[in-house]
């Protein structure tokens, strides 16, 4: 998974995942000035696109936490994103517009569902786990479709964006972008801290050899369930942001194809790499955006590129960078 320790990081265990500030800081600086560049070039539209990509980067990172580091291939992750989005929209309809209240509540809703679904699904292994998570996601999808009070099939429009206070107006695309960026950066730092902590080490060790971890006496099920719940909460946060970005939620957010897309992003970016989810989301959505400009048959190009990635970069895009730096 991680390359052999070199001189510069002998202090790290192979289960540690460094943030690589040397590489991340310039990228972050670029992201910080991006809205200014975009508006200088008269392309303000791209600011909300960038927000969208960042939100999906967060969602994919939350999936990578369980898929890449915990070995739990969840095919229902979009359900947690959708639940977070619906929670924010429904709270707004009920008059709760404060982001400091609504967003954590959305995370709590998603985490609660993840806890229950995980507790049942984690009894199964491998492909059966993939399918049982899909089953629960489908149940939630149809449940939301049937809730006519909240728009049913047609979805639910939001009166506006959440209120953040401190003079920050989320309705301003640029403010929203910076808030999203801050949240994504904080989430990445938190995920890195979590992975490098004892909890993360145990989680990765379970992925490597579950039988052995059980044998040495770790409560494997509990560790996996906590990770699954945390990932659900992060996905819920992504959902809360996504609902605010679009001002609209619909069952389409929770469709199985959305779960599939998140999975594709993670695999594309690099399963078990800290930045795997981010890279996958950025690459996938940018490629989609680029190709749709050229042709309506963009899926053909997208498919060809994805196939190429599978054949030449077996462990995703993040593995390519590692490879180049090692040689």
């Amino acid at each position: 998974m991680t390359p052999h320790p070199t001189l510069e990081d002998t202090a790290d265990s192979i289960l540690d995942h460094r943030l690589h500030w040397r590489w991340a800081a310039p990228v972050l600086a670029l992201l910080l000035v991006f809205p200014l560049i975009a508006s200088a070039l008269g392309m303000d539209f791209y600011v909300s696109l960038a927000s969208r990509i960042l939100i999906f980067a967060l969602a994919a990172t939350s999936l990578n936490l369980i898929l890449g580091f915990g070995g739990m291939v969840s095919f229902g992750h979009a359900a947690f994103v959708g639940l977070g989005a619906y929670a924010v929209a429904i709270f707004m309809q009920a008059g709760i517009v404060n982001a400091w209240l609504a967003w954590p509540l959305a995370m709590l809703v998603s985490a609660g569902f993840a806890l229950v679904i995980g507790a049942i699904s984690l009894r199964t292994q491998g492909v059966y786990f993939i399918m049982i998570t899909l089953a629960f996601a489908q149940m939630l999808f149809y449940l939301v479709t049937s809730l006519k009070v909240y728009g049913g099939d047609d979805g639910l429009s939001m009166a506006g964006r959440s209120i953040l206070g401190f003079g920050l107006d989320l309705a301003n695309e640029r403010v929203f972008y910076y808030v999203t960026l801050s949240i994504v950066v904080l989430a990445l730092v938190a995920v890195a801290r979590l992975l490098n902590a004892r909890f993360g080490h145990v989680l990765q060790a379970i992925h490597e050899n579950e039988v052995r971890m059980t044998a040495i006496g770790f409560p494997v099920f509990r560790y996996k369930l906590v990770a699954f719940t945390l990932a659900g909460a992060l996905a819920g946060l992504a959902g809360a942001l996504l609902a605010n970005l679009g001002g609209f939620v619909s069952p389409a957010l929770m469709q199985w194809s959305q779960s599939g897309m998140l999975m594709i992003m993670v695999i594309l970016g690099g399963v078990g790499y800290l930045y795997g989810g981010v890279m996958g989301a950025v690459f996938f959505l940018l490629l989609e955006e680029l190709l749709t400009h050229f042709t309506i048959h963009w899926q053909l190009g997208l498919g060809a590129v994805l196939l190429l990635v599978v054949l030449v970069a077996p462990n995703g895009l993040a593995s390519l960078i590692k490879l180049r730096r090692r040689t």
Partner: protein, 306 residues
């Protein structure tokens, strides 16, 4: 009156279940023997349906179109296996998901390029167009009966192939313990290609049979692919017997649920509530079934691996 309704729904369920079995059989074998998740399986079904519709139109004969279309689907499957999928066998499941997802996207878009985005029509042969009276007071679509007949026939042939032939023995050996079958000298390369070809032909048959009932359109493969995965997971991966039972259970429950749940709900609640809740509950049924089966039997009803 009520008995007739139940009988009709049972036949509908049987019809759908048998077609699901044709799709699931190939999927479960590819999965069980090659340990390969093939998301492009639904694309074979779609390509089969399109080929059959086009050839039927061009040749002016449903039977010729069906025959050549199934051959075409099998050929397409073999080509796909030899050119790309073969490279993915040694890779982990996630790479296979990404790779076959890419193939699925490309198949969808290529079909859209060739045939356009509009659904195309495939009509059943004139001889099977009308209903037949099974017994006084009950008639059923003759094409529906034909689908059931074909489904049972293919299932029977598949059963003979797997339990009574040398190739079938190798297939079973591969599903039960892949490494051991390899060590015992099974020619894996040819066996894999053959299994894939048969799976693709089964997809073609299902595409041709269901084409006149459901619409022949881009994306028809994905929705049914999910159902086929549900079937093989309920049945137990690698088990054709499990796929058969799973398909019948899913087919009957899905069909009957859609027809009977609204009627059942109508007795309990207001018409408005029924219109809201019934379709959702009917759609949820098979997922509840799958979750329940996996809760009590985490490896499906008939696990093939020992």
């Amino acid at each position: 009156m009520n008995a007739i309704l139940v009988l009709e729904q049972a036949l509908n369920g049987l019809q759908f279940g048998l077609m699901l079995f044709l799709l699931a059989a190939g999927l479960t074998l590819v999965f069980g023997i090659m340990d390969m998740i093939n998301l492009a399986h639904g694309s074979l079904y779609m390509v089969g349906a399109y080929l059959i519709a086009t050839l039927t139109d061009a040749l002016g004969n449903f039977w010729l179109g069906l025959g050549f279309g199934i051959l075409g689907a099998a050929l397409f499957g073999v080509l796909l296996e030899v050119s790309i999928l073969r490279r993915l066998y040694q890779r982990d499941h996630l790479s296979q998901v990404l790779g076959t997802f890419a193939i699925m996207l490309m198949c969808n878009e290529t079909v859209r390029l060739i045939w356009g985005a509009q659904p195309i029509s495939l009509n059943p042969p004139p001889a099977l167009a009308g209903p037949v009276e099974l017994f006084p007071g009950f008639s059923y679509s003759s094409y529906g009966l034909f689908i059931i007949g074909v489904g049972l026939l293919v299932a029977g042939l598949l059963y003979l192939l797997i339990t009574r032939t040398r190739v079938g023995m190798q297939v079973r050996a591969g599903a039960a313990n892949r490494e051991m079958a390899l060590a015992m000298g099974v020619n894996v390369r040819n066996l894999f290609t053959a299994v894939f070809g048969v799976g693709a032909a089964l997809c073609g048959i299902a595409g041709g049979m269901l084409g006149p009932v459901l619409a022949v359109q881009v994306g028809m493969g994905e929705s049914i692919l999910i159902l086929a995965f549900v079937v093989i997971v309920i049945g137990g991966i690698g088990s054709v017997r499990g796929a058969f039972l799973g398909a019948l259970i899913v087919g009957v429950i899905d069909t009957a649920g859609r027809a009977l749940i609204p009627m059942l709900f109508a007795m309990l609640m207001s018409p408005e509530a029924v219109a809201n809740a019934a379709p959702a509950v009917a759609s949820i049924m098979i997922y509840v079934l799958m979750a329940t089966v996996l809760f009590f039997r985490p490896r499906g009803l008939f696990p093939a691996h020992g």
